[in-house]
């Protein structure tokens, strides 16, 4: 964006752009200062922050800016910090508090120890009592601890210049996609870019990526979006996502195509073919004709006692729940 283009915008519009770029402390700048700051930020060859990080900082900044925290007293800031769930803030000075509020945890000085925290005692059960066996790593109880290792960290910078779309399966019914489109954002120009929309098109892919897929979901997002969940999908199905850009005049261009992601299976396989295998060098350990299928007729299980799908609200229920009576002594 050129200086002329920026000059034509209102202060409000400039502030929006600045925040999208993750610039802090801009809310009280005059228009000329804002333009200078923006031009300086744009002249950097590569963004020092990845889009994801930018977005997070931007949210924090605007949250504080909206409350006019620069003019607030330390007491008011403290109340705001507590309201936002920040811990270990009671002994901070005003400037430090402000830094915490605008989300600068990686450049802030070490924070004073928080008030002593005694965990609730009526814990009848030790913490192995997770509702299901997640891995209870050894941890100290949640005592807020301003770990000194944080004080000299930076956000991981991104220097990527090629478009990239990545698709990951979360569970049998949901995918997660993220994308970076720096090449086209640069080509189209930031201000024009933000006037358009992104179109996410999800396509099924046959086994081994054969190109006979069908489009299952299409939805639009603001041009500034960098990620999305994609829900209401089918288990054991392979998908691909295309990210397209629809400009303000309606023209649509495919900017990136993702890898293929396959949702996990969530039901018994329909195939009951049995094929035995004995590794080379071993004598077969059973005659391949004597077996009985234990599934599903001889096994049954209480719903919810194994995890796939049963207890996830809003997901399709699984066919043929297997109920295995728990033996009682």
């Amino acid at each position: 964006m050129t200086k002329d283009e920026l000059t034509k915008k209102t202060v409000k519009e400039l502030l929006v752009i600045a925040r999208r770029k993750g610039l802090r402390g801009v809310s009280r700048l005059r228009k000329a200062q804002l333009i200078a700051t923006l031009l300086a930020a744009m002249s950097a060859p590569l963004s020092p922050h990845p889009p994801q990080a930018r977005r997070r900082v931007s949210v924090r900044t605007s949250r504080v800016a909206a409350t006019g925290s620069g003019q607030q007293t330390r007491k008011q800031l403290l109340a705001l910090a507590k309201q936002q769930g920040l811990t270990g803030v009671s002994r901070l000075r005003k400037a430090q508090l402000l830094a915490r509020l605008v989300g600068a945890p990686f450049s802030a000085p070490p924070v004073a120890p928080p008030p002593l925290h005694i965990p609730p005692l009526p814990a009848a059960l030790p913490p192995v009592a997770a509702p299901h066996p997640t891995t209870p790593h050894i941890t100290v109880p949640a005592t807020p601890h301003p770990s000194p290792v944080q004080t000299h960290l930076q956000e991981p910078p991104s220097g990527q210049q090629e478009n990239r779309v990545v698709l990951l399966a979360r569970d049998p019914y949901q995918l997660y996609a993220y994308w970076d489109l720096p090449a086209d954002q640069t080509r189209i120009g930031q201000s024009a870019w933000e006037e358009g929309q992104l179109v996410v098109r999800v396509i099924t892919v046959a086994a081994h990526g054969a190109p006979n897929g069908r489009e299952v979901i299409t939805f639009t997002l603001p041009a500034t979006a960098t990620e999305s969940y994609i829900s209401a999908l089918q288990p054991a199905t392979s998908y691909r996502a295309d990210i397209c850009y629809r400009s303000a005049d309606g023209r649509c261009t495919v900017l990136g195509r993702s890898n293929i992601a396959t949702t996990p299976r969530a039901t018994l396989s329909a195939s009951t073919t049995v094929q035995w295998f004995t590794p080379p060098g071993y004598a077969p350990s059973l005659p391949s004709t004597t077996y009985t299928h234990l599934l599903p007729s001889t096994l049954s299980r209480e719903p919810g006692s194994w995890y796939p799908g049963h207890d996830v609200p809003g997901l399709p229920s699984l066919p043929a729940p297997l109920v295995l009576p728990v033996p009682r002594s």
């Binding site: 009848a124 790593h137 990545v166 054991a236 073919t273 796939p308």
Partner: protein, 526 residues
């Protein structure tokens, strides 16, 4: 022949936490607590099995980060200092509780526990626990499994297959460095599996891995013996499914053994209960109250009025629970034995740190299960996965379903609202590491050191623990900081390598801090 076969599998892992840049560091306590409460009791119970000639067959995975920490002189030294401070505290406690017999005996118990831990660690094992585990494997009571290099969650890394290969390959290299042999099996971090991963394992000579129940139940084609026998993936690597009932009896909040009122309460620790001035000299910096490992109360029930802990009664209860566990498994095996051509196999995997750390009586329970199974060989026989494949090499071919042992059984714990931001950076860094390995095929000197360090930083950032801790809200600031620190260091290495302006002093500093995998070779990413 036994009615059923039981494979007890423990997974021992902690993230790599080592901060030489600080005199003391709170999160290093995770290791120190686990050594005292889990690893030493485990070694001692296995040693007793060897002495008493008990036919013990236990399977244990020791993750490479844990092995590297156990092998680290700085952490060993800090652990001994920590123990000495606890011994002093326990001695002070025996004086403070002298007028109350119940508490006095408990204080003495802790004094003995810490004193013995020090004697075992320093005098008996010469601070070298990996070697102690190796000797037990060589003695035949233990089968040690490999694990991915830094416990990376492989289903979310495999957009770059070389990143997965490096995790597997370095895990196996580290296994060979510590145990002087090739591993038979690998523990997939968080039991995270996706179809095709077995092909990578097969390429590195792995013969088996363990998955959660539904990975086998939903395998394609349908598994004939459910989880009561392994299946071979099309690659020929065996996949063992977790026995859901064995797990539930130990893990479940409702039916699980560790919640018994006789057992020690984890939360009532003198780190919280006693006067701050009294315990302050024993607290690690920054001096916040944290658990110190001296706990005087039992769970008692759903009440705040906790009764004093009675170790004798707790031990008896652990023996009863072990008896119940063996009986249940035997009964279960009997139900399916007639439908199978072999005894049903039940695979019971647990986090090792559950035993002793979270569940104080866990090691007693485990020892009792081992001894009871040995005492009645006609009922339940202990077996390891590799031994099973020797005895029953013929198994069905099926592809397990993508899965994990985390909440809801898939990948959502490690890809949630709180932690999903990690992946775009991890993926980009992995691509860049592959790019570096291609660009510098035969680096030497400073360049080589920088490339090896870049591999270490990437691997450390990939640890599944950070995503887990962020999602669980346990030490999320520390976990976030670690991800960002390793990625920042990686990026700086990448940029300075590309621009040919390496900073040797800075490289030496970070290499002395993130010193995991001394023998790593960046060319694993080619």
């Amino acid at each position: 022949m036994a009615k059923g076969l039981l494979a007890l599998v423990l997974h021992a892992h902690l993230p790599f936490v080592r901060h030489p840049e600080y005199e003391e560091f709170l999160e290093e306590s995770w290791l120190y607590e686990a050594i005292t409460e889990t690893y030493i009791p485990l070694l001692r119970l296995l040693e007793r099995a060897v002495q008493d000639q008990i036919p013990c067959r236990l399977t244990l995975s020791l993750s490479p980060p844990l092995l590297n920490m156990l092998d680290d002189a700085l952490l060993q030294d800090r652990y001994v200092r920590r123990l000495e401070r606890l011994i002093a505290l326990a001695a002070k406690e025996t004086a403070r509780t002298r007028s109350d017999l119940a508490f006095y005996r408990l204080a003495q118990m802790y004094l003995e526990l810490f004193t013995q831990a020090r004697a075992t660690f320093v005098d008996r094992y010469h601070c070298n626990l990996p070697q102690a585990f190796r000797q037990l494997q060589d003695a035949g009571v233990l089968e040690i499994m490999s694990c991915a290099a830094t416990h990376g969650y492989l289903p979310l890394l495999h957009v770059n297959e070389k990143a997965v290969r490096a995790q597997v390959r370095i895990g196996i290299d580290e296994y060979q460095r510590f145990f002087m042999r090739a591993p038979a099996g690998i523990w997939l971090p968080e039991c995270g599996y996706y179809p095709g991963l077995d092909e990578i394992l097969q390429a590195y000579g792995i013969r088996y891995f363990i998955v959660d129940t539904h990975a086998i139940m939903y395998a394609t084609p349908r598994p004939v013996y459910a989880t009561y026998a392994p299946v071979y993936c099309p690659s020929g690597v065996a996949a063992y499914g977790r026995d859901a009932d064995s797990s539930k009896q130990v893990w479940s909040s409702h039916e699980g053994y560790p919640g018994d009122p006789q057992y020690r309460d984890f939360y009532r620790d003198i780190g919280y209960d006693l006067d701050e001035a009294y315990i302050r000299p024993y607290l690690p910096p920054p001096g916040d109250r944290v658990p110190l490992g001296i706990k005087y109360y039992r769970i008692t029930g759903h009440t705040n009025e906790k009764a004093p802990y009675d170790p004798q009664q707790a031990r008896e209860r652990a023996t009863e629970h072990a008896r119940h566990f063996v009986a249940e498994r035997t009964q279960h095996a009997e139900r399916f034995a007639e439908k199978m051509d072999r005894p049903p196999l039940m695979v019971a995997p647990y986090d090792a740190e559950l035993f002793g750390h979270w569940w104080f009586e866990g090691p007693w329970w485990l020892e009792s299960v081992i001894r009871q199974a040995a005492a009645e060989p006609g009922t339940l026989q202990l077996i390891t996965p590799a031994e099973y494949l020797q005895r029953f090499p013929t198994n069905q071919i099926a592809t397990p379903a993508a899965s994990s042992w985390g909440a809801h059984g898939y990948h959502a714990v490690w890809l949630s609202d709180a932690n999903r931001w990690i992946y775009r950076h991890l993926h980009q860094a992995a691509d860049r590491m592959v790019e570096l390995a291609a660009r510098f095929p035969q680096a030497e000197g400073l360049q080589r050191r920088a490339l090896d360090q870049a591999a270490r930083e990437l691997l450390l950032a990939q640890s599944s623990d950070w995503a887990f801790l962020i999602e669980q809200g346990t030490a999320p600031q520390y976990a976030t900081a670690r991800v960002k620190q390793h990625l920042s260091r990686f990026t700086q290495l990448y940029e300075t390598l590309c621009a040919d302006r390496l900073d040797e002093a800075w490289l030496s500093t970070i290499a002395s801090q993130d010193n995991i995998f001394p023998a790593v070779d960046y060319r694993v990413y080619r």
